[in-house]
Amino acid sequence: MVSPETDKMRYDLQIIASWIDPGSSVLDLGCGIGVLLAWLTVNKNVHCTGIELDKDKVAQCIGKGLTVLQGDFNSEVDDYPDKSFDYIILSQTLQQVFEPARLLYSLARVGKKVIVSFPNFSHFSIRLQLLFYGLAPKSKQLPYSWYDTPNIRVITLNDFRKFARDVGYRIVKEVAINTHNHDYTGNIVRRLTNLRATYGIFIIEKENR
């Protein structure tokens, strides 16, 4: 039994969780201590697998009864047969991936649907910092300096839409959000999303040709 402890879940994860069909199978990349996986297992009877690099976090996950593999998801995903999972989740990590196109290609092979969330680099506060101060912008979502940031990709909502279209993914669903209170609460942004949203969440799938 997975312990039904209801750890506080980030707002973007709450939205992602609401999109997952009960009883489906999910692979969560960079699953941390398994907050989303535990929630999905307990509340939606989802068959969950996680991949996490940090050994202590993996140990915590397995200790909760979750199925989690320790390793680098960029290479770990390659071992799965085609369409092994109904959903693959890449939450707030795309901006740290070295080869995003290659990774998404693998994910679209292994999963039927891929859910991607990332901080929106074209939020107006970021634009204003660059415009007025001429410095590499920092935000609550991307708090690092240019020299120590793990976020090696700057992505905007428009960038991602264009990228998905160019490389042959269909955007099944998308939502733009603003988060507050250490990301635990938030609201959905409906207008001028590329300017006003702090995060974007997309479901993509490979286009059938």
């Binding site: 039994m1 050994k55 397995i62 200790g63 199925t67 593999l69 390793g71 071992d79 047969p81």
Partner: protein
Amino acid sequence: MLKGTSQTDSEDLLVEKQYFTFAEPPEKMVLESGARLGPVTIAYETYGTLSPARDNAILVAHAFSGDSHVAGKYAGDHEGVKPGWWDSVVGPGKGLDTNKYFIICSNILGSCMGSTGPASINPASGNPYGLEFPMVTIGDMVNAQRKLMEHLGVDKLHSVVGGSVGGMQVLEWCVRYPEMVKSAIPLATTMRHSAMAIAFNEVARQAIMADPHWNKGNYYNTAAPHMGLAVARMVGHVTYLSDEAMRRKFGRRLQDKNDFGYDFGADFEVESYLRHQGSKFVQRFDANSLLYITKAADYYDLTLDSPGKTARDFSTTKAKFLVISYSSDWLYPTYQSKELVQALKRSGRDVSFCEIEADAGHDAFLLPDERLKNILRGFLDGVA
């Protein structure tokens, strides 16, 4: 209801070594090599209580020089006698909780700790088998364990758990008896020996066979090849430790002296340690058993029945897997566990994997570790 040792708190767990004999001639056990062996005796111990539904049994498979005494003490043990070899893991409230599970551990076929092996009496001659003992494989060891399960009335295993050569038995159980195994925990193990692992085993075997007392395995009525066996154990111990662990434990410190002896005595602590391990080992282990068991481990290849024969994989098992490796294990390094994980993923199995950070080398799986306890408990609770 089968009752083994049941304890509610962490008082000393008292156990008793038991014996089960099968394959009485002419119904001898057919081995993978085609040879026939009988009668076969298996020494085993049980801990906890088998539930009325018979669904809480866990088999622990020991490593090459281990025995059935996985935890606790025997009633006749003197004060100060160490408990079983995995006492930190098996017991009330521990990683393998004897309050919840019925734990079984049996001595492997070919060993010398109560089960039939080369030191046992060959009924045909009335003398110990020696090299007349047929070659046994990991598959044969598992078949013998399967017989024991039948004898105990266990037809479903909540889990099969084991490290090192014990881990090979775990994997073999999943492939050979997929319908019986609900979960599997192979630790610090491999699907097949690397050239390096075979090489070290060969050095150990040659050390024994080069000892004049070995006498082609026929030494049971004369002096035993203690020197060869001790050297074999010393080589083994080097592979169980790690560079880090040896630096931490010994460094270049001298043993009970301030200067070199300028002779070939044991100057360094590490020399003295290995000599001690060697001479301790010959008191309890049979040289021929070491030859047979290391050969079985070298022969083992999960992916093949035998060289050139049927290819095998994890497609028949439905077991849930927990694979554990240790960062400083250079005998069965993490990459070999990852190959196992990869094979399991390709077969669509439910697999968790964790490399535990430890500097103790291959032996790390035997040492007390709070992380291991939590992982084991969580995983076993999650097995439906």
